[in-house]
C-alpha cells in the first residue's frame, strides 16, 4: 500500500517527540529568563552612555570599553595607549582565584578521599559535617574569618601562645588572607565532586597497581588521579569561577590594596557614584575571559582523551 497510514508505533513516536518539545518548555523558559535575559541586558548596558547619578542614558557608546582598555591621559584627549589599571586587577584576580583553587584542591582532595574511603554508613555523616558551616551566610563567615586572622585574633594568639612565633603575623589585608577567604568560601564545591568521583573509583585498581610494584605515590598519580579526573576538573571549575568574581573576601580580608574584579564591578553599581555601563563592560569582559579559559581547557581535555 503505497503512501499508506503510518504504523501505530510511528504515531506513538511522533506524539512522544511532540510532547517532549512541549514538556521542555519550562526548562527553556527558566534558561531564557534567568540566563539569557540578564546576559543580554548586561551586553546592551555595556554599550550605553553613563548617567552620573547611576543608571544609563539610552545612547550607543563604546565609552565603557574605551575606559577599560585605553589610557587617554588626564584630560581624555590623547590617542589610545594601553590602560594597565584594570588589566592588572584582572590579572591579580586570576592569580588569586588560581591560588585559592590550588589551596582548595590540596585540602579538598585528601578530604574527599578520606570521606569516600570511610564505611558506607559514616560517609553521609562526613558529607553532612562538611556542609554545616555553609548554612551560615557567606558575609558572616567572611567577617568571622577577618576576626580570626587579625593581629590580636585567636589564630595569632594561639601561635604566640605555643611559642611558634614572637610577634603577631600580618595576615589580614594580605593576598594570602584573600586566598584563605576564597578557599574557605568555596571548599565544599571542591570536596563534593571529587568525593563523588572517588566513591565510584574501583579500589581494586589501587591493589592491582601495588601488586605491580607501584608505590602509593605512583598509584595516586598514574591510576587514581586519571580515574577521578572528571571530579577534580569539576571541582576546580566550581571553585575558580566564583572566586574570580568574588568581592566579599577581597573587600573584607584583602583591604584596599588587594582589589579584585568582583569588587571593581560591585563598586560600579553601588550607591550613586557608580558607572553602570563600565560595570557591565567589565562583567562582559570577565564572562568572555572565563568562557575562553573553559573552552581552551575543554579542548585540551578532548585532545588528552582522544590520544591513544
Amino acid at each position: 500500500m503505497a503512501g499508506g497510514a503510518p504504523s501505530a508505533s510511528g504515531v506513538a513516536t511522533e506524539t512522544y517527540a511532540e510532547a517532549r518539545g512541549w514538556l521542555l518548555l519550562p526548562a527553556w523558559a527558566v534558561l531564557a529568563i534567568f540566563v539569557l535575559a540578564p546576559v543580554l541586558m548586561m551586553l546592551v548596558y555595556s554599550f550605553l552612555t553613563k548617567e552620573f547619578r547611576g543608571g544609563v542614558i539610552w545612547e550607543f557608546s563604546l565609552g565603557a570599553y574605551d575606559q577599560f582598555f585605553c589610557n587617554r591621559g588626564l584630560f581624555g584627549d590623547e590617542p589610545c595607549a594601553v590602560e594597565w589599571t584594570y588589566i592588572a586587577i584582572f590579572w591579580r584576580s586570576i592569580w588569586q582565584a588560581g591560588l585559592a583553587t590550588l589551596l582548595a584542591l590540596l585540602i579538598g582532595f585528601p578530604t574527599a578521599y578520606f570521606i569516600a574511603t570511610r564505611p558506607q554508613r559514616t560517609r553521609a555523616v562526613w558529607v553532612f559535617l562538611i556542609t554545616i558551616p555553609y548554612w551560615v551566610n557567606l558575609l558572616i563567615r567572611t567577617v568571622s574569618m577577618r576576626f580570626l586572622v587579625r593581629e590580636e585574633g585567636p589564630l595569632n594568639n594561639a601561635l604566640m601562645g605555643t611559642g611558634l612565633i614572637d610577634a603577631p603575623l600580618q595576615i589580614i589585608n594580605t593576598n594570602f588572607a584573600v586566598q584563605l577567604g576564597l578557599f574557605y568560601s568555596y571548599l565544599p564545591f571542591m570536596v563534593l565532586p571529587i568525593y563523588a568521583s572517588v566513591e565510584r573509583y574501583n579500589f581494586a585498581l589501587s591493589e592491582a597497581a601495588a601488586d605491580l610494584y607501584a608505590t602509593k605515590w605512583v598509584t595516586l598519580r598514574r591510576i587514581i588521579l586519571p580515574a577521578v579526573r572528571p571530579g577534580v576538573i569539576a571541582g576546580c571549575i566550581l571553585v575558580f569561577v566564583p572566586s574570580l568574581g568574588a568581592f566579599l573576601a577581597p573587600d573584607l580580608l584583602g583591604g584596599a590594596k588587594n582589589f579584585m574584579i568582583g569588587s571593581l564591578i560591585e563598586e560600579q553599581f553601588k550607591g550613586n557614584a557608580g558607572n553602570w555601563p563600565f560595570g557591565a563592560a567589565a562583567s562582559m569582559i570577565l564572562l568572555t575571559l572565563v568562557l575562553i579559559l573553559l573552552m581552551i581547557f575543554a579542548r585540551q581535555q578532548r585532545r588528552a582523551e582522544g590520544a591513544p
Binding site: 581494586a204 591493589e207 592491582a208
Partner: protein, 360 residues
C-alpha cells in the same frame, strides 16, 4: 619431589575484629607447582591469597617466599603478581600499557617494557589488541590481558583469585587448559583460588580444601577425591552417599560398620575409630553397581527413579527401611545393560575399597 618450597605459610591467623577468618593455617607450596585453594565462599581461601599478596595483614604467624620472610612487606615489594577476580585492568590505559605497567615499575625502560609486553600479548594470543582500551574487549579477552599483565614482570609466584568465575562454561574450559599449559611453559608457581571443585581437580598438582577458616585436607586430586579425610571434604568434592553407621567390629586395619537399617559394609581403613563408635560412611555413586539377580552379598533395593545426565544415568535406590542411595552408571553400551526401570527390585554391590569411614 625434591622441589624447593616456594611459599611457606606458618601458622597464619587472620582476624577481622572479633571474627576469625583464618585459624592457624600452615602449608607449603612447592616451586613450579599448580596449587589450588578450594572451598565454598567465605572459607578464607581468598583471604589467604590476599595475605600472600600483601593486601591483608597477617594477624599472627609468618609467610615465607623462597625462604625470605615477607608477611611484613607492603604489596609492591613482594615479587608475586595477582590475576584479580574482576581483572582490575586500568581503564584509561591501552592493553599494551596495562601489560607494560609492572615492567616499568620494576625499572625497565619504556621501550624494553613495551617489547616484553608485546611478547606477553603473543603468549596469550592477543597481539592484535595492543592499542585497544580494556572496555573494548570481551570478558575472555580482558581475562587474558590480566594474565599477561601479571605474568609480564616474571613473578616468582602467580596468584589467581577465581580468575575464571566470570566466564561462561565453554570459555572457562578452554582457559583452564590454557592456564595449565602456560604454567608448564613458564615454570612459574601458580596459586589458584576457586570454589569450583571440578576446576580444582582438573588443573591442580595439589589441592588444599578449606572450610570455615580451616585447612581440611591437602593432597593431589586423586587423594582428595578417593580418600577424603572428613565429612566436609567427602561432601564438597564430587557427589557422594554419606551414610550414618556404627562400627561393629575391627579386623586389622579395616572396620565392619552397620548402617542405620542394619545392612553392613566393610571399610578398608578404620581411620582410628573404636568399636561401637558412631561414624559416617561415604561411598561414591559410581562405585555402587546394580544387578538384577540375587546374590549372597548385595544389598536388596528398589529403583526409585532414573535421571539422565548426559554422560551417565543417575539412579536413586531405596534400601531397606527407606534409606536412599544414588548410583551412577555410565551411559555406554555396557552401562545400559545394568540400568533398570523404576520400581524394579535389584541388588546393589559396593565395589571393594569404595567405602570410606569418616570419623568427623
Amino acid at each position: 619431589m625434591g622441589n624447593p618450597v616456594a611459599v611457606d605459610v606458618r601458622g597464619a591467623v587472620k582476624r577481622f575484629g572479633e571474627f576469625t577468618a583464618l585459624e592457624a593455617i600452615s602449608l607449603s607450596i612447592l616451586d613450579n607447582e599448580f596449587f589450588t585453594l578450594l572451598g565454598p565462599s567465605g572459607c578464607g581461601k581468598t583471604t589467604l591469597l590476599r595475605m600472600i599478596a600483601g593486601f591483608e595483614a597477617v594477624t599472627q604467624g609468618e609467610i615465607y617466599l623462597y625462604e625470605e620472610e615477607i608477611e611484613t612487606l607492603p604489596p609492591h615489594q613482594r615479587p608475586v603478581n595477582t590475576v584479580f577476580q574482576n581483572y582490575a585492568l586500568f581503564p584509561h590505559m591501552t592493553v599494551l600499557e596495562n601489560v607494560a605497567f609492572g615492567l616499568e615499575m620494576r625499572g625497565n625502560s619504556k621501550a624494553d617494557a613495551a617489547r616484553r609486553a608485546g611478547e606477553m600479548l603473543e603468549l596469550v594470543q592477543l597481539p592484535q589488541f595492543a592499542t585497544r582500551k580494556p572496555a573494548q574487549l570481551s570478558g575472555g579477552q580482558q581475562q587474558r590481558v590480566a594474565l599477561a599483565r601479571a605474568l609480564a614482570p616474571s613473578p616468582k609466584v602467580l596468584l589467581l583469585d577465581e580468575p575464571l568465575s566470570a566466564l561462561d562454561l565453554k570459555l572457562r574450559k578452554a582457559m583452564q587448559m590454557e592456564l595449565k599449559s602456560i604454567q608448564r611453559e613458564t615454570g612459574i608457581t601458580f596459586i589458584f583460588v576457586t570454589h569450583d571443585q571440578e576446576e580444582a581437580l582438573t588443573m591442580s598438582d595439589r589441592v588444599a580444601v578449606m572450610s570455615a577458616g580451616r585447612l581440611q585436607q591437602l593432597g593431589d586430586a586423586r587423594e582428595i577425591y578417593e580418600a577424603p579425610k572428613n565429612m566436609f571434604v567427602a561432601d564438597f568434592i564430587g557427589e557422594t552417599n554419606l551414610l550414618k553407621a556404627r562400627v561393629t567390629a575391627l579386623e586389622g586395619a579395616s572396620a565392619s560398620c552397620a548402617l542405620e537399617n542394619g545392612l553392613t559394609v566393610v571399610c578398608d581403613d578404620a581411620a582410628g575409630a573404636a568399636s561401637g563408635q558412631d561414624v559416617h560412611v561415604s561411598i561414591r555413586p559410581e562405585r555402587l553397581t546394580m544387578r538384577g539377580d540375587g546374590g549372597p552379598e548385595g544389598w536388596p533395593a528398589t529403583v526409585a527413579q532414573n535421571v539422565f545426565v548426559g554422560t551417565d544415568v543417575q539412579t536413586q535406590l531405596t534400601l531397606a527401611k527407606g534409606l536412599t542411595v544414588t548410583t551412577r552408571t555410565q551411559n555406554s553400551g555396557a552401562g545400559r545393560a545394568t540400568i533398570f526401570d523404576a520400581g524394579t527390585e535389584v541388588f546393589v554391590d559396593v565395589e571393594p575399597g569404595a567405602a570410606r569411614l569418616l570419623v568427623s
